[in-house]
Every structure is written in C-alpha cells, then in structure tokens.
C-alpha cells in the first residue's frame, strides 16, 4: 500500500540507499571497462587505447577455456540440483514430522556456515585421499553440497512451511499415490522456492575457491580456480576478463535455469 509515510521520504535514508547502490554498481561497470583496457599508465584516468588481449587470453590462447567453463557450470549445476533435492527432502522431514533428534538435525544444518572452512577442508582432505575421492569430480561435488545445503534447506523449509501439506493430502484422498501427489500438486506450488534454492546453491558452488582447490587438487578445474591466480598476479586486464566471464556466465545460467524450470512447471500440469 502506498502510505503517507512513503510520500515523506527521508532525504538521509535516500542518500544511504542510493549511495550504497552506487558503490555496488560502479565496480561492475569498471570491471567491464577494464577487461578491454590497454596500457594504463599512472596517473591517467583512462587507459591508453583498448585491447582484446583479455578476450584473446580467454578464447584463443587457452583453448581449453571453453571446456573449463562447461565443466565448471556442469559441476555447479549438479550441486545445485542435488542440494535442492536433498534440501526439499530435509525440509519435508523437519516441517511435517516430529521425531527424536529433530532439534539436533536442524542445528546441524547450519554448522557448515559456522565452522571455519579451512578446518573442514584440511580435515576431510585426508579422509578423501583414503576414500579415493580426492582430486575427483564427485569429491568436489560432495564438499560443495555440504556448503550449499544450509541455504537450500533454509529456503525449502520456508516455502514448505508456507505451502503446507493440506493440498497434497487432498490429492492422496482423491486416490493419487504419495509421490505423485507431491510431484503434481506440491512441486508446482513450491517452484518459486526451488528456483531460489537452485540459484543459491549454484552460486555457492560456482564461487568456491579454497575448498575446490584443496579437494580437487588442481585436477578438477573450475572457473574460480583458474581465475584466482590472475587476480593474484596483478594483470588487471586479464583478471577482469575472467571476472567478466564469471559474472556473465552466471547471469546466462540463471536466465536459462529460470526458463527451463518455468517450462517444466508449465508442462507438469498442462493438459
């Protein structure tokens, strides 16, 4: 509702809001700009000429860039889908059932957020070597899952609690078996939650650097792992090009994800 309070917008609060938005947007613009910056000697405010050096680095010289991006996206999509499925299952257990150890489980789901990543990574490294999971795709998926789950469980619990199971039970009363009731009745209703859960898990996985490096041992190459040495090296043009590729590929994946999920939902209940 438009209220009177809105009409008397506080100037100070406006400055806060727009100021912070300014600080968010400017680095992104500069990033795109810097990807094409040529020589940029001190103290010039603008680079001397533009270059495709960054883009060439991405697309020609390292010919395997395409495969890095695809495998990186595939890895994160795997994590996103699994984390959402497990998140939904967990959420249903926590929302619809009372059982022994329920408090423990719901406390346990936030532990990966709280416990320092290095402690887990270094500890589990040896375990993974022993299990033969170190330096493997599956190993990296497993650890990424652990970091994505606190968020997906949380998101799916909210939407599951909001949707409830009344309609699903109605479906069962009408003679539809439980899983099909869930699939055809509840799933379309919780789709908004599924979309944010998948996106959140994707971005968590796609962003991981340290743990991917530890568990993947440099054999599982993700965009994050390949990008960081350039950020470290100080070649800002190439680092910016990688960062730009990272941001753009994320947006493309998000747009496609939403399209696919909406299509899927439409087909789910189409006649």
């Amino acid at each position: 509702m438009v209220s009177n309070v809105d009409k008397r917008k506080s100037k100070i609060l406006n400055i806060v809001a727009y100021g912070i938005v300014f600080f968010i947007v400017v680095p992104l613009l500069v990033l795109s700009f810097w990807s094409f910056a040529g020589r940029w000697p001190w103290p010039g405010l603008f680079p001397v000429g533009f270059t495709m050096r960054g883009m060439e680095e991405l697309f020609s010289k390292s010919a395997n860039m395409f495969s890095v991006v695809t495998s990186s996206v595939l890895l994160s999509l795997t994590v996103a889908v699994l984390a959402t499925v497990i998140g939904t299952m967990t959420a249903r257990a926590l929302v619809f059932y009372d059982f022994k150890g329920k408090e423990l489980v719901s406390f346990g789901t936030i532990l990966p957020i709280i416990i320092p990543g290095t402690a887990f990574a270094m500890g589990v490294h040896v375990v993974f070597i022993y299990l033969g999971l170190a330096d493997t795709f599956i190993g990296v998926v497993l650890v990424h899952l652990i970091y994505a789950l606190p968020y997906t469980v949380n998101i799916m619990m909210d939407v599951t609690a909001m949707t409830g199971d009344n309609l699903e039970i109605q479906g069962q009363v009408l003679g539809i078996p439980p899983f099909r009731s869930f699939y055809h009745i509840t799933l379309p209703l919780i789709m908004p939650g599924v979309i944010s859960s998948v996106s959140m898990a994707y971005i968590i996985s796609f962003s991981q650097y340290f743990i991917t490096l530890m568990i993947g041992g440099g054999k599982v190459k993700t965009l994050s792992v390949v990008m960081v040495p350039f950020i470290q090296s100080g070649d800002r043009t190439i680092a910016s090009s990688y960062a730009l590729l990272f941001v753009l590929s994320t947006f493309v994946v998000f747009i496609l994800l939403e399209l696919v999920i909406k299509r899927f939902t439409a087909r789910l209940n189409g006649i």
Partner: protein, 340 residues
C-alpha cells in the same frame, strides 16, 4: 472533537478506492461505517489517521485542516483489526507506550495504566506477556492502549469480528460504556448491520468507495434513500406499481401514499406483511416453513406469478406447507422507490 471529511478521494496503485467522501462526526458521537468487505471503509479509517494520503480532499479536526499533520501528531487512534500489540512488551508496557511517547512522567503513566486496566477489567495483568493472554483479553489491552493515547478520535477497525458471539456482546457493552465515560468521538468500522444499528448514533453506509446514506439508525433503516440501501439492511422482494393522485396501485394491493405521480418499486420487507385471515391480499400459499428457535420463517408464494414474500411468526406454527393464506399489509413499513 468534531471530525469532518471534505470530498476525500483515495487511489491506490491506480485503482480508485474512495470517491469523494464527505462526512461530519459531531464531538462525542459514536458512528458506524457500515459496508461489505472491500467497500473502502478500512481505507477511509487509515486516511483519517493520516496513514494513507488522500489524492483529493481534506480531513478537518475541530474545523482545522489536519492534512499536514503526520500520523503521530493527529491523535486519531486506531484499534486495528489484528490489534497489533507489541510482543516484546508486557501488558503494562504496551499501555504505557503512547504516554511515554508523548513524554509523560513515570508516575503519571504508571497511575494511568493501572486506571485503564481497571476500566477494561484486567486488574493485576500488568506484568503479563502478550502471548499469555486470550483473544478477548488482548482486545481489552488494545482498547486500553488506544485510550492511553488520549485520542481526539477513536477509530475501531472491525474490532469484534474475531471474537465468539458471547464475548462480542461483552466487548460491545464495554466499548459503549468507555465511549460514554470518556466522551470520545468514535468511528466503528463494521460489516455487521445489527452491530451498527444497535450501537451507533449515526450510520454511514458505504459501497464501492462512496457513502450512500448517513443518518440515524432508525432513519437509515426505515427511510432508506435507495433500494440499494434498503437491500443492504434486509434484502426483500419488490413489486412495481404506479402512483396516481396520491394512490399507489400494484398487482396485489393499493394504498394511499404521499408521493408524486410516477412508477415506483414497493419493497415488501418481512415487517411490512403479516398473515391475517381478513387480509386483503389473497392467492398466496405457504411454500416453505423454516424453524429458527425463537420464531418461524414463512415463505409465501403467489400461485399465478413468481412473487415470493417472507414473514416471521412466533411459535407455535399453525400452518402447513401448501396452506392457502391471506396477507395483511403494514402500509407504513412499505418502502417506495421511484423507478426512474
């Protein structure tokens, strides 16, 4: 304090909610805003309180334009439908809140809180938490808190709708007593016509963002300005007829009226007709008998047409479905509305 609204219009996200509403509430009067849900009555309340800014028109308090006053300086205090008690405060803290906000001294607000709790019959509940109280008790706390704000105008937004019938009666009495004690100008928003008829000095009937009639309960019921208003209080069948030379004539009856010539609709409410062996209206039979505890509702149908009337008779009922009956007409209670 006298409250007066002049041509208030409100549009929210492009949709017109209130359309040129004007209304004056005398100092100390209790009026009801009556209407179906979605008619704009709650919006009007929020507009009076300054929470929603009108797109046109002005609010006057004691004749002074209040448009520039922000909500917290108007003294137009709402008891919200969902009460909105502060969950992080005790009962006493909730009631003391408005007094603290206007800078009252500690002794004053402690004393007033105790007084108000007595007034709403909640002595000894000071230190209770909001979640430890029942619905009726919470309602009393909300009322006490509103009174603690020293309202110029008290605005009650469907305050009783969430209560059981018995509790509702108690709360109505409490509200009326307090309103008389404090002589606060009060507006009650309700969709319950009985509530509005029994509690108010005046009723403003709202529909689609307009006030259709603003009058005393008796007048608005007995001399509704339009069939829409009459139907809101009791939906009843009507018969078309003609007035000529001061006599109304229709299919089933004719009687003297004080209306100019023309075509009219005569609304026949249950109170306007009665079953009477000597009644002038014939050809009706009993089509349905519904037992209602204190009385029976009788549905009467005319054989030749589809005309259907309803009336109430007290127990015991000596009729059976299918009986032919004669009907008498209480002419003074028939409402006539011009068809043009």
């Amino acid at each position: 304090m006298e409250l007066s609204l002049k041509n208030i219009s409100v549009a929210l996200s492009g949709e017109e909610i209130l359309d040129s509403v004007s209304l004056t509430v005398d100092d100390g009067a209790f009026i009801s805003l009556l209407g179906a849900s979605g008619c704009g009555k709650s919006t009007l309340l929020k507009t009076i309180a300054g929470i929603i800014a009108p797109s046109k028109g002005s609010v006057f308090l004691n004749g002074v334009c209040a448009d520039h006053l922000p909500p917290h300086k108007r003294g137009t205090v709402i008891v919200f439908q969902d009460l909105r008690l502060f969950p992080h405060m005790t009962v006493a803290e909730n009631i003391a809140f408005p007094m603290k906000m206007r800078g009252a001294a500690r002794e004053e607000y402690v004393r007033t809180t105790t007084e108000l709790l007595e007034k709403v019959q909640l002595q000894g509940f000071e230190r209770r938490r909001v979640r430890e109280m029942s619905g009726g008790q919470l309602q009393r706390v909300a009322l006490a808190r509103a009174l603690a704000a020293n309202p110029n105008v008290l605005l009650l937004d469907e305050p009783f709708s969430s209560l059981d019938e018995n509790l509702r009666q108690d709360m109505r009495q409490l509200v009326q007593r307090l309103q008389k004690d404090y002589k606060i100008t009060t507006i009650l928003v309700t969709h319950d016509r009985q509530e509005a008829l029994s509690m108010s000095d005046k009723i403003a009937l709202m529909m689609d963002g307009r006030i259709l009639q603003y009058d005393t309960p008796e007048n608005i019921y007995d001399t509704s300005v339009s069939r829409t208003v009459a139907d809101f209080f009791e939906s009843a069948p009507y018969i078309e007829g003609v007035v000529r030379d001061g006599i109304f004539k229709c299919e089933i009856a004719e009687f003297v009226v004080d209306k100019p010539d023309g075509i009219y609709q005569a609304v026949l409410r249950s109170g306007a007709i009665y079953i009477d062996e000597k009644g002038p209206i014939r050809d009706f039979y009993v089509s349905e008998i519904q037992y209602r505890g204190e009385d029976y509702k009788i549905t009467l149908k005319e054989e030749s047409s589809n005309l259907q009337l309803e009336t109430y008779i007290s127990s015991p009922c000596q009729f059976n479905v299918g009986d032919m009956v004669c009907i008498g007409l209480n002419v003074s209670r028939v409402l006539l509305f011009s068809s043009n």
